[in-house]
Point group: C2
Chain length 352, copies 2
């Protein structure tokens, strides 16, 4: 798919927009002022593949420890601030890498200008993030609860920064409705060339939240829209990161191990569900390697149907086959299939 | 979203296309000839909300028991047949409700005509289902591994039926690549007005398969494409049905209970993950009721952000609130929130 051309901003060492790889981000749920707990969670998220982390900054205690947190982690830190421009000033002094702040909500233009000048000095990008739930009464009465209202509201905040000559901007317009989210980003993308942070808000728990996020983020990415993503789940944020990475992998926007496997059907003569789980587990150390592995339930059609896969196995009544790019490499008893597959992958893809 | 206008076909009592509700289907993974196991699985799927069920018919033993299976279930039965037209003839005699069969693959035109005439007599629709893995060498050399190849291949099968004046047709063009699947259906939808059965093939296990299916099916539904869906998972088919229903609900294409909930963040002062799980569990009996329930982590912003929800709770430091359509109904100690919410919903939505 062709990606929409957007400007590039830099969150610390991570470039966003301008065709750079789409980054995956998340947000901590520890009290930010608790440095130990927050750093520990960020490290877990880093390990899971999180590339940018945001923390809530509800008060001065939280703002004051941002530098301490920053010093102990290896991914850019974004401070999420509402209403209070002093918290933003402290956050900037604490050398955060990004701000999420809606300039129209922090009071007078003097206050905004103060934040912007400090952000400019340190080259700190500002994300404007408008959610469907926090639209103003004016916007709602003018446009109703629509994509237009969401986009217009975001553009008002953007205009404030543009008047001050500040363009290190990233924008999000999230709704809890998948359709409204997709409509909003499509409209926004047609109007601006700032990089976009995409996601569905209040998506729900692991099951429904994953489905809504995959639908909304997926539809936008297929359109070439989106420069950084956050999956929002009422769950351990590690799951947000895993889901985000899987979304990117599924659209070939991120390299890494991909496993394709048949649905089971009345033709399947092996325990495909169990076999696939074993393959997934055995290949965990290979999750960064850019290969596709197929686990098929049918010896006759399996290799052909999975000819796009780099490696694969297919199980039959007693005997299974090992194949590479659609060509059969060996016929084996079913119980030897898994080991033979892993051996072949290990030999041909040494982990450094 | 506006749905693409398609022709209507009938699988037994279930209409597909023409603006009828989008149905959710699945496929058994029991040996079809094992009537007891197959019926038992279909009943479980029915209970989960499955509206159409397909069974593999690999041999005559399977074909011969279709009538027995049909007599014991309450949803339309589709026979999945490859290559052997005699199995199709038996299946039709056994009073199945639909066939999945690619006419170009069952041999001579005489054989196809025989199947079509019997299908016509019993008004049995035929699904043409082309998968990216089973494209012919001719198609691949002409178009490469592309959406064009998939669509062209499907249209060749369609043309055979059209030449025989048979138009009770449904089409699928599934790939294991989300992007190729979406491109294929978009192209197909621009060329025909037959109802479309949509899904991603070989999507993988629960985690990756759910994500790929939600992305592909979601993007198409947002375009108004798709009349019936199947989520393919290497998993218990009950999970396919649950995921399919959730996809439809998330796009307001299916009525039912919806739960929205905040992601957790450093501002959250209650155990939101646990509370949301409790709400989900307590509301299981209400899954058919068309309401939206919000579980928010923030007393200040929660009711406003969730003003689209019919009912909701938001938790704070010690005290929480109960709200209805964004208006606060009661302030309560946190431990009483769950019960108060369930009580309000139960009182206002009696289950018959």
């Amino acid at each position: 798919m062709e990606r929409k051309n957007t400007k590039t901003i830099h969150l610390g060492t991570v470039p966003i927009g301008g065709g750079h790889p789409i980054s995956v981000q998340s947000m901590t749920n520890t009290p930010t002022a608790n440095v130990k707990a927050t750093v520990s969670q960020i490290r877990k998220l880093q390990k899971a593949g999180c590339e940018i982390i945001r923390v809530a900054v509800p008060d001065q205690d939280a703002a004051n420890v941002l530098g301490k947190i920053r010093a102990q982690i290896h991914i850019p830190l974004v401070a999420d601030i509402h209403f209070d421009h002093k918290l933003a000033l402290t956050a900037i002094q604490q050398r955060i890498d990004g701000l999420r702040l809606n300039p129209g909500n922090i009071g007078s233009e003097v206050k905004v200008r103060e934040v912007v000048e400090h952000a400019r000095e340190r080259m700190i990008p500002i994300r404007i993030g408008v959610n469907s739930g926090s639209l103003s009464r004016e916007m709602l009465s003018k446009y109703g609860h629509t994509a237009e209202a969401l986009v217009e509201s975001a553009l008002e905040h953007v205009a404030i920064l543009e008047r001050m000559g500040y363009e290190a901007i990233k924008i999000s317009v999230k709704a809890s409705s998948v359709e409204m989210t997709v409509d909003s980003y499509r409209l926004l993308s047609s109007k601006v060339s700032y990089p976009l942070h995409i996601g569905i808000t209040e998506a729900g728990t692991d099951f429904s939240g994953t489905i809504k996020s995959a639908m909304g983020i997926g539809a936008l990415l297929l359109d070439g829209i989106g420069d950084t993503i956050r999956v929002s789940l009422t769950s351990d944020p590690v799951n947000e990161v895993k889901t985000g990475i899987e979304i990117l992998k599924s659209l070939n926007l991120r390299k890494g191990l991909k496993i394709v496997s048949c649905p089971t059907c009345g033709r399947t003569r092996i325990n495909l569900i169990n076999l696939t789980k074993q393959v997934e587990k055995a290949l965990l150390p290979y999750h960064d390697i850019n290969i596709t592995v197929a686990v098929m339930g049918c010896v006759v059609n399996g290799p052909g149907e999975a000819r796009e896969a780099d490696y694969g196995i297919a199980g039959g009544d007693e005997e299974g086959i090992l194949f590479r790019k659609g060509e059969i490499v060996a016929k084996l008893p079913e119980r030897e299939l898994l080991e033979a597959l892993i051996d072949m992958i290990r030999t041909e893809n040494p982990i450094l």
